[in-house]
């Protein structure tokens, strides 16, 4: 996918701003530029922040939290300047780091209560909400057990509970499905979806797994090498990404050329199949006729949603982790 659509679409976003950045730049002392003049707005809802590992997602989240100071540029979250009024802002933010961050020698109920209090909740409210949140994430019966004895999936749910216990306006998640088995991933994604819809809390979820993100997000922000690649509602991604996939026996290159002559942009994928961009309309007849004229045999003809990676120019899916939206 070309990058010519990138610039225009940020203005598409609604005027209600959950987060807005202007020329946000972060350079690490070693000379690495993690964010490079990032200007964007994110509106309330569930937003996916996608990009390859090292694209600057974690850095961006940490700057939102005021954990890192930007080298230059500005960032406003929930209408509050993140660098100037960090503690005040963080009362209304929940955060799940991508790594383990739980003390093993405390029961989940105690820990989540403690985190509620460190977020500014009074003692009684902290205790009540901790129990409630552990129920929401499905750990109510296990809440008095020490966290050290929990499975990875349970720990991930404790992390979610501590991030939601103070009823934040915005939840920030960094690779929330890391290290989870398929069932755990499904559960986690469902919890994230419920947080956005039922709980009415805005979510920004950073991930390199586009297929997962697509299941739960209303919006996508793609960054690469610290630069904004694209920001748009997920619907616009999927609408544009409809493909017709054709497999043929015969001279594929000539077939593609013939399709081009009929006004159907097509290209040969690495796996040998031919992908045809569908821009509305129904080109099935045209494809059939062209195949007959070119003397190639049609093996397969079907619609497919574009892999999001293709649009971002990222390398194609490496295989069988089952998380990519595909044919």
């Amino acid at each position: 996918m070309e990058s010519d659509t990138i610039q225009g679409e940020t203005s598409y976003l609604a005027t209600v701003s959950l987060l807005s950045t202007f020329e946000l730049t972060k350079r690490y002392p070693g000379g690495v530029t993690a964010l490079d003049g990032l200007t964007l707005e994110i509106e309330p809802g569930v937003t996916g922040l996608v990009g390859a590992n090292g694209a600057g997602k974690s850095t961006f989240l940490k700057i939102m939290l005021g954990l890192l100071e930007p080298t230059s540029g500005s960032l406003t979250v929930l209408g509050i300047d993140a660098t100037l009024r960090g503690p005040e802002l963080r009362q209304y933010l929940g955060y799940i780091p991508e790594f383990d961050c739980l003390p093993p020698d405390q029961p989940a109920a105690d820990f989540v209560t403690h985190m509620a209090r460190v977020s500014g909740l009074p003692p009684v409210a902290a205790r009540e909400r901790a129990a409630e949140m552990l129920r929401h994430v499905g750990l109510y019966d296990e809440r008095y057990r020490q966290i050290g004895g929990y499975s990875t999936g349970m720990k991930q749910r404790v992390k979610l509970a501590q991030a939601l216990v103070h009823d934040p306006r915005l939840l920030l998640l960094d690779e929330p499905t890391n290290g989870l088995d398929p069932a755990g991933r499904t559960d986690m994604l469902e919890l994230i979806r419920r947080t956005g819809t039922e709980f009415g809390i805005s979510v920004i979820v950073a991930s390199h797994l586009l297929g997962e993100i697509e299941q739960v997000c209303d919006f996508l922000v793609a960054i690469e090498a610290g630069k904004l690649l694209r920001a748009a509602p997920i619907a616009s991604f999927t609408r544009e990404t409809e493909l017709l996939v054709v497999e043929v026996i015969g001279d594929a290159a000539a077939f593609v050329g013939a399709l081009g002559a009929r006004g159907l942009p097509a290209r040969v994928s690495p796996d040998g199949s031919i992908a045809i961009e569908i821009d509305g309309g129904s080109p099935f007849d045209t494809v059939r006729d062209t195949a007959a004229e070119s003397g190639v045999g049609l093996l397969r003809l079907g619609r497919r949603r574009h892999r999001l990676e293709d649009m971002f120019g990222a390398p194609p899916a490496r295989g069988s982790d089952g998380t990519h939206v595909g044919a």
């Binding site: 963080r90 020698d105 403690h114 009823d167 039922e198």
Partner: protein
């Protein structure tokens, strides 16, 4: 808050009543720091943790208090004024090594786990700033040491009051001691907590943090003491290398400014001139008597007296240790990766 209608309750099932928003008070940064401080204070004593976490703090607190209880009990049994195992000043000196152990075992509980398990990432993304975390941790350990430091002295005092023939007079007599006890307990608490936390903050693993604090507090004083005692003329400044001895020096000074210095002139600490090569037996006897006199003299003195340094030097060293520790803590937590 779980609310159920009568119908739901009768059905006896757990209903998902949906997510409830929180509309109550938010206490902000002050509330967050208070919570972290209170949690730290509990952690130092192993409260809210398993039984194993309570062994060390409970044992050490018992070690600190038991001698005072024994003295109070003996005084009660045998009548006031008869028994005085410890003065307040002496009690600080005798028990200060227990505070060293307490710091070595409990300081890592307070800060090392937060680094090792990366809980700091969660704290720093809460309603506080990084220096607030340091302040809450220093406050927690200092408070703990201060409480443990005061407890035996309260026991000692009540032992005196109740065993004295004239309780009121005993109370009145003890009043001048009170500010000294509080001041000494406070200095030791602040000094040891700052030094221990500064050391623990830069070490990633718990056993190493404990070992480093043991080294800085216990081993240092174990090395320094014999050196100072045997060669006070040359080695006396070494007392300043041990935070425990510095604390001892300040405590001594607080209780009696004159006791910081030796009760003899400095010539006393110089090596005794060797007898001439062919000395007669009377000269030899005088020489041996002089050596014995000096060694007995030293036995009656504290290490602080033998070092014979001015009180201002202990106060200055304390200030220096506090400044360095505060610097280490500030820089460490400003730059720590979360």
């Amino acid at each position: 808050m779980v609310r159920m209608s009568a119908l739901d309750a009768r059905a006896g099932a757990i209903y998902d009543i949906g997510y409830q928003h929180y509309d109550g008070k938010r206490l902000g940064r002050a509330g967050a720091v208070r919570a972290l401080y209170a949690h730290g204070l509990r952690t130092v004593f192993g409260l809210g943790r398993g039984v194993r976490a309570k062994i060390a703090p409970v044992a050490l607190v018992a070690f600190v208090i038991v001698p005072a209880v024994i003295q109070a009990a003996l005084a009660g049994l045998l009548g006031g004024g008869q028994i005085q195992l410890f003065t307040h000043e002496g009690y600080f000196r005798t028990t200060v090594w227990i505070f060293g152990l307490f710091c070595a075992f409990q300081t890592p509980e307070l800060v090392t786990g937060d680094q090792q398990h990366r809980v700091l990432a969660l704290y720093f993304s809460r309603a506080l700033r990084r220096p607030d975390y340091v302040l809450a941790r220093v406050g927690a350990l200092t408070t703990a040491l201060f409480i443990v430091g005061l407890l035996p002295h309260i026991v000692l005092m009540f032992g005196q009051y109740f065993s004295a023939a004239d309780t009121l007079k005993a109370m009145k007599d003890s009043v001048p001691q009170l500010p000294r006890i509080v001041a000494a307990a406070l200095v030791i608490a602040v000094l040891l907590s700052m030094v221990s936390l500064a050391i623990a903050s830069v070490i990633r693993r718990r056993p190493f943090a404990t070992a480093a604090i043991l080294g800085a507090l216990m081993v240092a004083s174990a090395f320094v003491t014999p050196l100072v005692i045997t060669r006070p003329d040359k080695m006396r400044y070494l007392v300043l290398a041990s935070p425990l001895m510095v604390g001892d020096g300040v405590t001594t000074w607080i209780f009696d400014t004159t006791k910081v210095r030796a009760p003899v002139d400095s010539a006393f600490f110089a090596p005794v001139a060797p007898p001439p090569a062919h000395a007669d037996s009377a000269t030899m006897a005088r020489h041996r008597a002089e050596v014995r006199r000096r060694s007995r003299g030293r036995e009656r003195m504290t290490v602080i007296q033998i070092a014979n340094l001015p009180g201002s030097l202990y106060l200055g060293t304390t200030a220096l240790l506090l400044i360095v520790s505060a610097g280490v803590l500030t820089l460490r937590y400003r730059h720590i990766e979360t």
